[in-house]
């Protein structure tokens, strides 16, 4: 595996029930590659939280997963409203999700904190009215 493997997904912002399709597909593919189970688990949880965020807040976006021999990068890009206060959004329990989102079991204010917890490196580029890009890296070894 000298060339990086790249997976690209469009995340549908209108359909809450299909959120997770990209993460589950990536998980399946990485299992077939024989990557360590803990790496796959970390990556798929971090990516799922990102997918859910894009559906809740940004009407969808794109997800790219780049697999190299040393690490896996996840790039989540949306054209949503942007995050006004990243430090506040990173606090566990802080959420701007609606009651309808809560009824589905989300909006606990754990999305971004979980993404940070399960990735080894995370960077958020956000601009109000333009969109947000979250880049995460998980080291394989």
């Amino acid at each position: 595996m000298s060339e990086p493997l790249v997976f690209h997904f469009d995340v549908d912002g209108s359909d809450f029930t299909s959120a997770g399709t990209a993460s589950v597909t990536v998980k399946k593919n990485l299992r077939q590659l024989g990557l360590p189970a803990d790496v796959i688990r970390k990556l798929s949880i971090a990516m799922y939280e990102g997918e859910i965020n894009m559906v809740i807040h940004a009407n969808g976006g794109t997800a790219d997963v780049i697999v190299t021999e040393q690490y896996i990068d996840i790039i989540l890009k949306d054209q949503g409203p942007g995050i006004p206060d990243v430090n506040l959004a990173m606090q566990e329990g802080y959420s701007t999700a609606t009651a309808q989102i809560h009824s589905l079991g989300f909006g606990a204010g754990m999305g971004l904190p979980n993404m940070k917890r399960y990735s080894d490196e995370m960077k958020i580029d956000t601009e109000l009215g333009v969109g947000t890009t979250v880049s995460m890296r998980i080291w394989i070894r």
Binding site: V24, R41, I45, I52, L104, M110, N114, R117
Partner: protein, 108 residues
């Protein structure tokens, strides 16, 4: 203890594509992000949530089985999804606390 062994102890089957999966530990929670952040792989996850996202969370967090407490039912289309994705789901007639107590006895 395996997931299928729970069937002999008052749990009923909703979806059982992976009956021989071993259970290690228990997690209780209904907020899905919270569960993903805290549950361990191979846990039995007790919840009253029954929407499609539960199946995705169980897949990604790699729990051994979802146990719906208080006789919560899973809609038929979601049962099918669980089977397709290889997610074990059982049902318990008692609340989450009593379900956990029962599992504590069985798993120790």
């Amino acid at each position: 203890m395996t997931v299928s062994e729970l069937l002999e102890h008052g749990f009923s089957e909703i979806s059982l594509p992976d009956p021989d999966r071993e259970i290690h530990g228990v997690y209780i929670g209904d907020l899905l992000s919270w569960v993903m952040g805290r549950a361990d792989a191979d846990n039995a996850w007790i919840t009253i949530m029954s929407n499609i996202n539960v199946i995705a969370v169980a897949t990604l967090a790699d729990t051994a089985v979802v146990i719906l407490s208080e006789d919560v039912d899973l809609p038929e289309d979601i049962v099918q999804q669980a089977q397709v994705k290889g997610v074990n789901v059982l049902k318990s007639s008692v609340p989450s606390y009593e379900t956990a107590v029962k599992l504590y006895e069985l798993l120790k």
